[in-house]
């Protein structure tokens, strides 16, 4: 390694190739390696539509973007420092966001007439000077990989599949990453197919050696470990974090998990994850549709399980009627909605925050329930855990919101100690003497949880309005008004136990940025940059969208202006304007993409300048 090593604060790398090129796999592996050596990371897997397109076409391009940093970061980066493009289509789709003078590594073999045509290039971009502002490295990856594997006597089809690891090897060299983790990863992943394990290992090493040997790269770079708070870390996606959070809540509460779910992008991974933990007593039921999914969940909650259902927007729409039943019967059901871009089928693999209003109001009648949103992949753990805790404490359905961006995205997660998790005490009703199905706990207004099988507590519940004590059907006008009020009050009561809002910045000033959900990282980055420039801007981020925190009104009142950036047409902003009569401004983006912090910064400047 005789070449100079330059130290960088952070770097953003984008792998792009055909859907079949294994970009997600190697991107993810680089993320894990980087996390393991102590970098902070932010990732953005960027699949094409759910359907696989023909090889080499523009819609078939799959991308994986990774932000590696020596500091605490909150986003997967915007413009890339390096782009690895495995074919012309990948180049075309991604070159726009490569920084000037950025590193561009292309797989030269793929720049042939047919592929250029599929990518709708009239001429070869490697030859017409259009890439002059980048550091272009055209590498014959296919040939080099085949060459490296020659002894293994694999078919060229199989050998060619290894070129993603060749590319990864190059990147490892370029950014001075240690290959140990990747080596053991390959060994585990291909444990049952030794020849593939060996092939990929050879390819990986070949990529690295290629850089070492050739004069291609003048410099290599390194990104020092970030100064994260001490502790044990693990890299995980938001969807996995939800699964972990639910299992943790199950273990702490002593309730077995029941998941009723119907697959849907981008929520299916929670079902996949949870279905693996049968030894934790997790029962997963792949239902015939979303309605059966939530209904089985309601049944499971009724029978005493920690019951949840997972879905995305269109599925939540289907569940509306049944959510109302859970509200009426006051059963603890957690409804996880991993949002995607709508309306209708919309853009299923793209992210959006456009189901907040649906979560608040998407069912008949007055049917209020708590709504929580996770802010980052790792926060999915805590928020899902909290959703479970609130559901069983208050005997209420709860909607947990996340989205494709944080559901698929990953980041280092400080692994919690079990002992530090909040308790989730659960007591089923037992005493026939004192039991009445709707007699509420004075503090929480929760009704008792009396599960079938308990002697002496036989009772009937249902979706018709119930008497305030016995739970029998009641057509009384006064009772209906009372019960409607109690259902609302129970939800409002939760606000009493919410912690004081954390204000990032001064607690009064010119501008307050109010966020919720997956915009957390971007908003934090943008606001901190502006604060560093001495701007009077602060930021809060809401986990609870219903009820809103008790101190929110006061906090809002301390700022001259309020802006609410959302990946929708402005939904939280409506709730705030309605409730607090503050002239909060909506800043909305509806492109199926997260915000860039630059966009937020510009908007902050505009508002402050107005």
């Amino acid at each position: 390694m005789g070449k100079p090593v330059e130290s960088l604060k952070d770097v953003t790398i984008r792998f792009a190739g055909d859907s079949g090129d294994g970009m997600q796999l190697v991107g993810n592996e680089l993320a894990n390696t980087s996390a393991l050596i102590g970098n902070d990371i932010g990732v953005l897997p960027d699949y094409p539509a759910e359907i696989r397109a023909p090889i080499g076409t523009l819609p078939g391009v799959s991308g994986y973007q990774l932000h590696i940093s020596s500091e605490d970061i909150h986003t997967p980066g915007e413009k890339y420092d390096a782009l690895i493009a495995m074919n012309p289509a990948a180049l075309k789709m991604n070159i726009e966001n490569l920084k000037p003078n950025g590193v561009l590594i292309v797989n030269l073999d793929s720049f042939k007439a047919r592929n250029l045509q599929l990518a709708r290039y009239d001429e070869n971009p490697l030859e017409n000077g259009s890439l002059d502002k980048y550091q272009v490295f055209s590498v014959d990856m296919t040939a080099l990989t085949r060459n490296a594997l020659i002894d293994l006597k694999l078919s060229s089809k199989v050998a060619d599949r290894c070129k993603n690891f060749f590319a990864l090897g190059m990147v490892f060299w370029l950014y001075n990453r240690n290959m140990d983790h990747a080596v053991s990863f390959i060994k585990t992943k291909f444990a049952k197919r030794a020849e593939l394990a060996e092939a990929n290992l050879l390819a990986l090493k070949a990529g690295s050696s290629y850089c070492e040997m050739t004069e291609q790269f003048a410099t290599s770079y390194e990104v020092k470990p970030a100064k994260l708070p001490p502790g044990k870390y693990r890299n995980l996606t938001g969807n996995t974090a939800v699964a972990m959070g639910v299992i943790a809540a199950s273990q702490k509460s002593g309730l077995p998990v029941f998941l009723g779910s119907y697959p849907i992008t981008p929520a299916s991974e929670i079902l996949h994850e949870l279905s693996r933990f049968k030894n934790f007593g997790v029962r997963t039921f792949q239902a015939e549709d979303e309605i059966a999914a939530i209904c089985s969940t309601i049944g499971a909650a009724y029978a005493g399980a920690l019951a949840l259902t997972t879905t995305s927007g269109p599925g939540l729409a289907l569940k509306g009627e049944a959510v109302g039943l859970a509200v009426m019967t006051e059963l603890p059901v957690v409804i996880c909605n991993i949002q995607r871009a709508g309306p209708s089928t919309g853009l299923p693999t793209k992210t959006e925050q456009s189901d907040l209003m649906q979560a608040m109001y998407g069912r008949n009648g007055e049917a209020p329930l708590p709504v929580l949103a996770a802010s980052r992949p790792a926060d999915c753990f805590e928020t899902a855990y909290e959703a479970c805790r609130i559901a069983v404490k208050y005997m209420t359905p709860v909607i947990f919101l996340s989205d494709g961006y944080i559901g698929n995205g990953s980041e280092p997660w400080p692994v919690p100690r079990v002992g530090d998790l909040p308790e989730i005490p659960v007591e089923f009703a037992k005493d026939a003497e004192s039991f009445a199905p709707y007699l509420r706990d004075e503090e929480t207004l929760a009704r008792p949880w009396a599960i079938p099988g308990t002697p002496g507590l036989e009772h009937r519940i249902g979706g018709l309005e119930k008497d305030a004590v016995t739970g029998n059907v009641s057509y009384s006008a006064r009772n209906h008004e009372y019960m409607t009020t109690m259902r609302a009050r129970k939800v409002e009561k939760i606000a009493n136990e919410l912690p004081k809002l954390e204000i990032d910045g001064a607690d009064q000033g010119e501008l307050l940025v109010v966020g919720w959900g997956s915009t957390y990282g971007t908003l934090k980055t943008a606001v901190e940059r502006k604060q560093a420039q001495g701007k009077s801007v602060s930021r809060i981020h809401l986990r609870f969208l219903n009820p809103l925190p008790n101190d929110l009104g006061e906090v809002l009142g301390n700022f001259k202006k309020i802006v609410v950036p959302e990946i929708n047409s402005g939904q939280l902003v409506r709730l705030l304007r309605d409730k607090y009569l503050v002239s909060a401004i909506s800043y909305s983006k509806m492109q199926g993409l997260p915000f860039f912090s630059s966009e937020i910064e510009t908007r902050i400047d505009e508002i402050l300048g107005e």
Binding site: G304, A307, P455, I461
Partner: protein, 349 residues
């Protein structure tokens, strides 16, 4: 493994249960004369004879006149939403297979809006007992045609006659993979009790269609079978290993011509009992029960009552819970901290 095994808990076991114990304090609110009363009474009469404590019973219904049923049973009860009872009951049974879970539903509830949950419950063979109150009409919403109403039926929503061909509920259930299918009627209490009892003993889904009269909106829909005088000639009672004989004088029987059932006289000497179809509810092959189910569609044949089909097949909740047990055995008791700490972790100092 049977869900009906005696519970060892400190339940109501010592008590000798009677019909009274299964009557709730709620006033029964069906129209006077409604067939639902009989189904309620037979259920309340049958359960005390089964070996289960009262608190182990859960009655789950959808929406419809029939679906009010759980309110009147002094057991656990859940009056849910329209058509969804099978799905809700599946959740209950999956979590607690020791419960005896009953799905109470109507022809609209289970065959119209709830059709999908019904067929999926049947194919999965979830250990639920389904009682379908078939009155061939939407009672609660005051008289529209249902998926079992006859083609051409005139109702509030079909003043010119319905243009829908009806389902044959038993054929549908068999096509969906049902392991237990039976039929009885409101006007034959003893038979109904027997069927309910048999159904409760089946380990997978037991599906019981009950001919039920809605005397307000579809009075007399089943008169041909329920009237004492006509019954003997229009109904054939199924009994295991017995030939299909019927008629006031038990002088007629069902014989198969290929796989087409036909009525023959066993009085005139041409045919004897040995020529007749012999009932075998245990036939693994669903074809036999399918043939029985279609007798309903041919007005020249009597309608079978009793158990059409009763075969063993892994029930859903057993398979599910066996996986949990096996995983426990293989992977050991759950350790949450170990789970959280698993995967690639690193230490920041």
């Amino acid at each position: 493994m049977s869900t009906l095994e005696k519970s060892a808990s400190n339940g109501s076991a010592e008590l000798k249960l009677t019909k009274k114990h299964f009557e709730s304090d709620q006033e029964v609110r069906w129209c006077p004369g409604c067939g639902d009363y009989s189904i309620l009474a037979q259920t309340q009469r049958t359960l005390p004879g089964l070996e289960l404590d009262k608190e182990k019973y859960v009655f789950i219904s959808g929406i419809g006149c029939s679906s009010r049923f759980p309110y009147y049973m002094n057991t656990y009860g859940f009056h849910t939403i329209h058509g969804r009872a099978p799905a809700i009951a599946t959740g209950v049974k999956a979590v607690n297979p020791d419960l005896s879970v009953w799905v109470i539903t109507g022809d609209g509830d289970s065959l119209s809006i709830g059709g999908n949950h019904l067929i999926h419950m049947l194919r999965r063979n979830v250990g639920l007992n389904v009682i379908l109150f078939n009155n061939r009409i939407y009672g609660l919403t005051k008289g529209q045609y249902s998926p079992t109403s006859e083609f051409g039926k005139i109702t509030k929503s079909s003043p010119f006659g319905s243009v829908d061909h009806p389902f044959n509920p038993v054929s549908l259930a068999i096509g969906a993979g049902a392991t237990f299918v039976a039929r009885t009627m409101d006007r034959d209490p003893a038979h109904m009790q027997k069927v309910i009892k048999t159904a409760s003993g089946h380990e997978g889904t037991s599906f019981v269609e009950v001919f039920q009269n809605c005397n307000i909106f579809n009075d007399g829909a089943w008169l041909k079978y329920t009237e004492k005088e006509k019954r003997a000639d229009n109904v054939v009672y199924l009994e295991q290993d017995k030939p299909l004989v019927f008629g006031a004088n038990r002088d007629k029987g069902i014989r198969l011509d290929g796989f087409r059932p036909e009525v023959v006289s066993i009085a005139d000497g041409k045919y004897g009992e040995s020529d007749l179809l012999v009932h075998n509810e245990k036939d693994e092959d669903a074809t036999y029960s399918f043939i029985l189910s279609h007798m309903m569609d041919n007005p020249e044949l009597p309608v079978p009552l009793g158990v059409f089909r009763c075969v063993d097949k892994m029930p859903y909740e057993r398979a599910l819970n066996e996986q949990v047990d096996a995983a426990r055995k293989k992977m050991g008791e759950p350790d949450l901290q170990a789970l959280l700490d698993s995967g690639d972790t690193w230490e920041v100092k």
